[in-house]
């Protein structure tokens, strides 16, 4: 059937159709292609023959296939739908069959094309308007005579959404890294211990020197013990404290060095 149609087709139209195939990457989807094909009918979009258009489209797909041009799936879906539409339009309506008539479907397609064309037209009109920064301008030197200085923190919605996206996908690809939340830094331990040592005249277990909130939870306690222990070594080295351990793995005790 499409061959008959091919031979009847004028050479010019065939050339145009072939140019379309070569340019298939230039189309933004099947509707765009249909809209381009519809222009060859040289009538108002409202009076377009959807049947002819379906033929043209199917012919296009046919030729693209014969030229072994890969078409994206949505072009093929549209072809299948148009073939279905064509059969509905050509065959007398089956009274037992439910669903919309071929005419209704065709009208909807024509409307979709008209709508797409309309959106393109208004998009062009929009871009053709005078634009800020090109045709008209805002004040070039906005004044800000300051008396009160206030810091305003700025963040855009994009920043917010990106921050969230980053957080929620971080686990997918974050390289292994130490997490710092349960780390009690050595500097903090040293500062804390140095401040407390003058009051430590009696032997006290190292455990008792751990800061509030770092006891009990194993991960935190471990870190606190390590850094506090390192701090005791430093203070002992400086001669500020004495350390005592009765046995291997026995609790470590410390006190202020006598005479300090």
């Amino acid at each position: 059937m499409s061959e008959d149609w091919d031979t009847q087709d004028s050479i010019i139209a065939r050339r145009e159709a072939e140019a379309l195939i070569v340019d298939v990457d230039g189309f933004e989807g099947p509707l765009d292609l249909l809209l381009t094909l519809s222009r060859t009918q040289k009538v108002d979009l409202r009076r377009i023959s959807v049947l002819d258009l379906a033929e043209q489209y199917l012919g296009f797909i046919e030729r693209a296939r014969s030229l072994r041009i890969e078409l994206a799936a949505d072009y093929l879906v549209m072809a299948a739908w148009l073939a279905f539409l064509k059969s509905r339009l050509l065959l007398p309506p089956d009274p037992t069959e439910e669903g919309p008539s071929g005419e209704e479907l065709a009208a909807h397609l024509a409307w979709q094309l008209e709508r797409l064309q309309a959106m393109r037209d208004v998009a062009a009109r929009l871009m053709g308007r005078d634009q800020k920064g090109r045709d008209f301008f805002a004040r070039g030197a906005p004044e800000a005579l300051a008396v009160s200085r206030k810091t305003r923190f700025e963040a855009s919605l994009i920043d917010l959404m990106r921050a969230y996206a980053r957080l929620r996908t971080r686990d997918d690809f974050r390289p292994y890294a130490f997490d710092r939340s349960d780390i009690y830094p050595y500097e903090a331990a040293l500062a804390r211990l140095s401040a407390l040592v003058p009051g430590a005249s009696d032997w006290t277990s190292l455990q008792a020197w751990l800061p509030e909130g770092w006891r009990g939870v194993p991960a935190r306690q471990r870190s606190a013990i390590a850094s506090t222990f390192a701090a005791t070594l430093e203070l002992a080295k400086q001669g500020q404290i004495e350390l005592r351990q009765s046995d291997t793995f026995a609790p470590l005790h410390l006190r202020r060095k006598s005479g300090q």
């Binding site: 933004e28 797409l116 959106m119 920064g133």
Partner: protein
């Protein structure tokens, strides 16, 4: 002579209208961004009628090299468009928008609030990555309310910056909007036989989009 109405709580009479006009002129000249009536009023002394003063000011600048215009809820001075050719030095090269981005923008503007699915249905093709992103980043579109349909999709609407950029007082002034609406091209028409478009269960957000602007 009609005196400006002074609210009873103010101890001082409002400045004369000519003075109010001067103040607004100063405020709007000083700012590159449109200022809303509320923002202007907040900076004026008590008892001022910014709305009236703006009308006077706008008339005063008619036909001048700089004109006073409305941008959504705001007001701003802008140079007259016919003098744009004088401003080569100030011209900012904007990023060239792809055809897809321009069409997507137009669809959002004319159909707002529009969901991604609606944009795709109209263009007949998927919205490519980065298109929405780019328009958001340019501050030409923003998120609207979620559609109260299954899946509660996000919607997009155009911003004041969009209106300002294209010199539009409001989204109603989009070129050709009325004709499109009258031609039924802004209707939400489903494919015959397909399930009808889901109605929002919130009565105050009809699916008709822009067309509702014209409903009286």
């Amino acid at each position: 002579m009609d005196k400006p109405v002074t609210p009873p709580q103010s101890l001082f009479p409002a400045p004369p209208m000519a003075e109010q006009e001067r103040m607004i002129e100063a405020i709007l000249f000083a700012s590159a961004e449109p200022q809303t009536l509320a923002q202007i009023s907040a900076r004026l002394p008590a008892g001022c009628d910014a709305a009236e003063a703006l009308v006077h000011l706008r008339t005063r600048y008619q036909g001048r090299g700089v004109t006073l215009g409305r941008v959504g809820d705001g007001w701003a001075f802008r140079t007259a468009p016919d003098l744009g050719w004088l401003m080569q030095t100030e011209r900012v090269e904007t990023r060239k928008l792809s055809r897809a981005a321009i069409e997507t923008l137009a669809i959002i503007a004319y159909h707002q609030p529009a969901t991604r699915a609606e944009i795709e249905e109209i263009r007949g093709v998927a919205v490519s990555r980065g298109t929405i992103d780019q328009l958001l980043e340019m501050d030409w579109i923003r998120l609207g309310r979620r559609r109260m349909t299954p899946g509660r999709p996000v919607t997009f609407v155009v911003t004041e910056e969009f209106l300002d950029h294209f010199g539009l007082e409001s989204a109603r002034d989009l070129p050709g909007l009325k004709e499109l609406r009258e031609a039924g091209l802004l209707d939400a028409r489903a494919m015959p036989g397909a399930p009808a478009p889901e109605e929002d269960d919130e009565d105050d957000s009809p699916r008709s989009g822009q067309s509702e602007l014209f409903e009286d």
